[in-house]
């Protein structure tokens, strides 16, 4: 199986021994050994996946990298975080996903209003199976555990990914004061309940809700 490791915090090195890995198109910065790069149309879930991704806006340009040696990936000097999956599901924005083990299945799910409030659309990408995935963040991600006794509330702009059995719920407190410019600046929040891990970045994307 491909072995993912970090070279510093902003470069992902993947050791390949004849197997393959899926990565964001154009994210390869260097390689050592023999590699072939094959563009996968539509994110690599066949025709149905391709259509779904087009419709939902969660399309990613993905390539399949196969070969012997070490391949290095990086994207705009963003921080890279490794996530090891053992059967569970990782929910991540397509724009934050750098590479996944070839054995992992990717898909698209509906997120509801949370997506809209983050400016990321109504859908998110899921990664499922056993293997490793590399997730990008602006600044090193902080992993926060959610349990039944300790629900977590996150700013939509700082959220990047989560795993586990989590229910998410958009909280908002938009009142007439928001309209006259006296909002609290934290009007939109996502509350996570259940059991799982949430990845947040120390930075906020500009969101529609962000200024409220």
């Amino acid at each position: 199986m491909a072995r993912f490791r970090l070279q510093g915090t902003r470069v992902l090195a993947v050791d390949l021994t004849g197997d393959s890995v899926k990565a964001k198109n154009g994210a390869m910065v260097a390689y050592d050994g023999e590699m072939t790069f094959k563009k996968m149309t539509g994110g690599g879930e066949g025709l149905r996946g391709l259509v779904t991704r087009r419709i939902t806006g969660e399309h990613m340009a993905v390539m399949e990298v196969k070969g012997q040696g070490t391949c290095y990936f990086a994207d705009r000097a963003t921080e890279i975080n490794l996530v090891r999956l053992t059967g569970e599901k990782l929910y991540v924005e397509a724009s934050n996903l750098l590479a996944t083990d070839a054995g992992l299945r990717t898909g698209t799910t509906f997120t509801g209003l949370r997506g809209a409030s983050q400016g990321n659309g109504l859908f998110t990408t899921t990664v499922e199976g056993t293997g490793q995935a590399a997730v990008m963040s602006d600044g090193p991600a902080i992993v926060l555990r959610v349990s039944a006794a300790t629900p977590l509330t996150v700013d939509p702009g700082a959220y990047i990914a989560h795993t586990g059995e989590l229910r998410q719920q958009l909280q908002h407190s938009v009142g007439w004061r928001t309209m006259i410019g006296e909002g609290s600046g934290e009007s939109f929040q996502i509350r996570f309940e259940g059991e799982g891990l949430v990845y947040v970045q120390p930075s906020e994307r500009t969101t529609i809700g962000g200024q409220l």
Partner: protein, 260 residues
């Protein structure tokens, strides 16, 4: 978690060489999680700049300044009238994470002291401190005892006066040195110098102008000359009148306003 309820013990996180996993009990109390994020152990109130909270555990409410149940607290600690729209009060109990565009975050303790800081760099402060607008436009002064959190582009360095610093590298200063402008006039003397000064031809080094500090205290510098986005400090109210720096020159309805 200081003073908070502790229910059951979680495993301390981490494990199998993966990333460190934090929960409310393992998050640091009033300390940095990493160089770019700060964890506040909230038990009461903190003042925050809008939009700098990235996540929290526990029960926390965010109140805009200018109305609501915290009027008295705001009156005692917040003296920057036109700045109020950029700040909120977080009230409640729990752990709260603060971050700002993945800049370096540092916390500072003031003990019956004062510190003046560029307005865009200040993220949050404890109610033990009072926030006031500095006489120098674009800067805020914190007075009192307590902790505050500030962001900088690159790590912050503390230096002692006398020192001259580049305007863009200045983050703030503590304990009253005398901030003033310094120009290298020697460079601009004579006819050639005059042409240089007016046209820039002949090479200005870009370092002819500095801020000068003398006296006892500390000056805070960041390690780049890239400024953080300027946060409106709100001008001085227009009716402040002549003699007040910045009066009538900033804020809505710019332009001098005399005799109001």
């Amino acid at each position: 978690m200081s003073g908070g309820p502790v229910v059951g013990g979680f495993g301390a996180a981490g494990g199998d060489g993966g990333p460190v996993v934090y929960d409310p009990y393992t998050l640091p109390a009033d300390d940095n999680v990493n160089p770019y994020a700060f964890s506040v152990a909230l038990d009461g109130q903190w003042f925050l700049q809008k939009g700098k909270m990235i996540a929290y555990y526990g029960q926390v409410d965010f109140h805009a300044i200018g109305y609501g149940p915290l009027d008295r607290l705001v009156a005692a600690n917040f003296h920057s009238p036109l700045h109020a729209a950029d700040w909120v009060v977080a009230q409640g109990r729990g752990k709260m994470l603060l971050a700002d565009r993945s800049y370096d975050i540092n916390s500072y303790d003031l003990d019956d002291g004062n510190l003046t800081i560029r307005s865009g760099n200040l993220l949050a402060f404890q109610p033990g401190l009072a926030l006031k607008q500095s006489i120098i436009p674009g800067f805020l002064t914190l007075i009192g005892t307590g902790k505050f959190v500030a962001a900088s582009n690159g790590a912050v360095h503390f230096v002692e006066p006398p020192i001259r610093v580049d305007p863009q590298a200045l983050v703030g200063w503590a304990d009253c040195p005398s901030p003033c402008h310094h120009y290298d006039h020697a460079y601009l003397r004579g006819v050639l110098g005059g042409i240089r000064a007016m046209t820039g031809i002949g090479g200005a080094s870009g370092e002819e102008h500095q801020f000068e500090f003398v006296g006892a205290g500390q000056v805070l510098l960041q390690s780049t000359e890239t400024l953080m986005a300027e946060q409106a400090t709100g001008g001085v109210p227009g009716q402040a009148g002549p003699g007040v720096p910045g009066a009538g020159a900033q804020g809505p309805g710019a332009g001098p306003r005399f005799g109001r």
